[in-house]
Point group: C4
Chain length 210, copies 4
């Protein structure tokens, strides 16, 4: 091997493999947060399992969110032609936000049925969703400003993605604000956006394809 070929920057492939690991573990750890119910005072197991419905719901929602981020992460990484240290560190920060999600998920599952604490639980969950959106936006802006994006990509497609990520941040920030007023409405918004993300991402457009 020619020493000229030695690279100091990790290729996108290595970062993708590590990110995949974090996505896969974060998503699988979610179930650990649903503890086996301990029956108290004549409660039946059937009742105890039914009362866990907020935990099941939070599990499904967070699993979908991380799964969607995983799919989009790969989709996006195909648009990057190289990486640098700042990009790498922002990606670690993004993964830190993804790996944090099981905590707000567990809190939401535990306190959604508690009318006094519900607002705070939903606020925390909205923060838990805003954090990956915001850190992902920073990864994207970094890649854009540092020229890491495939130059063949159509400028209007790059603008489209920037707007999409910006919108996503505004949306989760709004859900956070609304959670102080009406927890159920905030939750409905969050569920709605997640369902929206189940649709396929817009096909990448290249300048020489125009």
């Amino acid at each position: 091997m020619n020493s000229e070929e030695h690279q100091n920057d990790l290729g996108t492939q290595r970062i993708e493999a590590f990110s995949d690991g974090v996505f896969a573990i974060a998503v699988t750890l979610l179930i650990i947060e649903i503890g086996v119910p301990h029956l108290e005072g004549g409660q039946t197991l059937a009742d105890a399992l039914k009362e866990l419905w907020p935990s099941y719901g939070a599990y499904v929602l967070s699993f979908l969110m991380i799964g969607i981020y995983w799919a989009n992460h790969h989709f996006l990484f195909k648009l990057f032609t190289r990486t640098d240290h700042v990009f790498l560190m922002l990606n670690v920060f993004f993964l830190m936000c993804i790996a944090f999600l099981p905590f707000p998920t567990a809190v939401l599952g535990e306190y959604l049925r508690d009318s006094e604490q519900r607002d705070v639980a939903v606020s925390l969950y909205a923060i838990g969703l805003l954090l990956p959106a915001a850190s992902w936006f920073s990864v994207w802006l970094c890649a854009r400003s540092r020229g890491l994006i495939d130059e063949q990509l159509a400028p209007r497609y790059v603008r489209f993605l920037t707007l999409e990520y910006l919108f996503s941040n505004i949306f989760y920030a709004s859900a956070l604000a609304i959670s102080f007023l009406n927890a159920w409405l905030a939750l409905a918004l969050v569920v709605g956006l997640t369902l929206l993300y189940l649709f396929p991402p817009r096909k990448a457009q290249y300048t020489n394809n125009d």
Copy 2:
């Protein structure tokens, strides 16, 4: 790289790697659900460890189930020539069902010896096995209807697999129904089917091999 080569869909390889991660983590997390026994009222550690036998059994059964799904997942993915977004999302949904299994496993381990709650624990476990079977069936039907399956595959082999997955769903649904009548019988059926799946899958047949 020619921009024509850019793909918006994840290759099967990427999905397999992510799925492998979830399989490996789900299977290894099972042991976390068996807590270290805390001795109460003069109980010996030997007795406490013996009383955990339903947890050991549930561990073995669920480990085998996920291990078998892992092997079959790879076997099946060799038959797919391409993927699309719906297929990807259904696969995420399938993994969500696989990652859920540690919860019913833990509940079964904890409540199998409790004659009053046993039925519900076995019902939940049957649901825990029906969910991956049903979601896997949906992955298969999606791949079949959207033309993602290798076209060289013999039609009767495709029909054979469809029937096999359908049968598997009927079987777990029956085990669920029976669990309301007799928990032990339902459990025996589930163990029996798992043992059946230890046999090798039928060799794939191709049209030009006939």
Copy 3:
């Protein structure tokens, strides 16, 4: 792709990747079993942390054991030229035994200082080490009898490995037997053998190298 090339058996590479995942997760989960101490009755954190020494020791021992199995697993898989379904299922069974190790490790950490329960905790730990040794031996015997081993491997080297694995099983079975008489002696034996395994495996010998 020629349809003749389609294979129904997983290559060794795929099994290695899955096994690597289970090894990496099992080894990293070990720390989860050491709970943060809760101080009771004027106990200081320093004292509470010191009292956890059996947990630290068990962590180191089990981490080394799984790490050694990981290294040996790769070493051995280079000697296999193909796989089949029985081999695959025995490998899943071996991984089940590896993934079980965090449980006896946690029990040993919790009960080693308890003179009344120590014997049982050490017996369980010896079982926890015997299980992977025995299941690995079955993987090896299966590979040998079904002709999955590289045919160029020198017969006396194959015999050497068979004897080594047999010895390892006898050793852990002896440690188990001794644990009923003297827990400390059994533990010392187990630690000693682990240290022995830190030495490099004997270089593979091939017939045309003679």
Copy 4:
């Protein structure tokens, strides 16, 4: 395949994949250590979540540390041209120290607000950071003395890295010593060094590049 090509040593790639797994799991497990708060005596969820700030801080710090080690591990492994058994075992020992970090992190999160136990919690955390630094230094010294490092690497660059790792050990040992005098100062030092490591590593220099 020519039997001459059979290797007894694992390539760096295999070790990197396993190490990546441990890094990814250790980093994602950190969140598990932050338990869902249980409200006592009229405490609100908002207050309980705010009181967890040391846990959030410890989570961020440990995530960054492991993330930085991950990035550096890859950077370094590009400088190694081969491996041997001692190197492999020292790498397993290094991973053991990385995988241990969630425990001191959890203890720090739980006891940082407790003025009586704070010193010990910070001391343990400093040990938790010293261990990977020391074991990584041993991996490096082993690679250097056994000739595993790329021979084209400029000697003064090798000296630079040796000094950098030595400094890092002295630093964490100092933080440990200071933690017995002033916990906050020790913690500030540790945070400062972590921030320092966020800067990119010095570009590798090769003799024929001079």
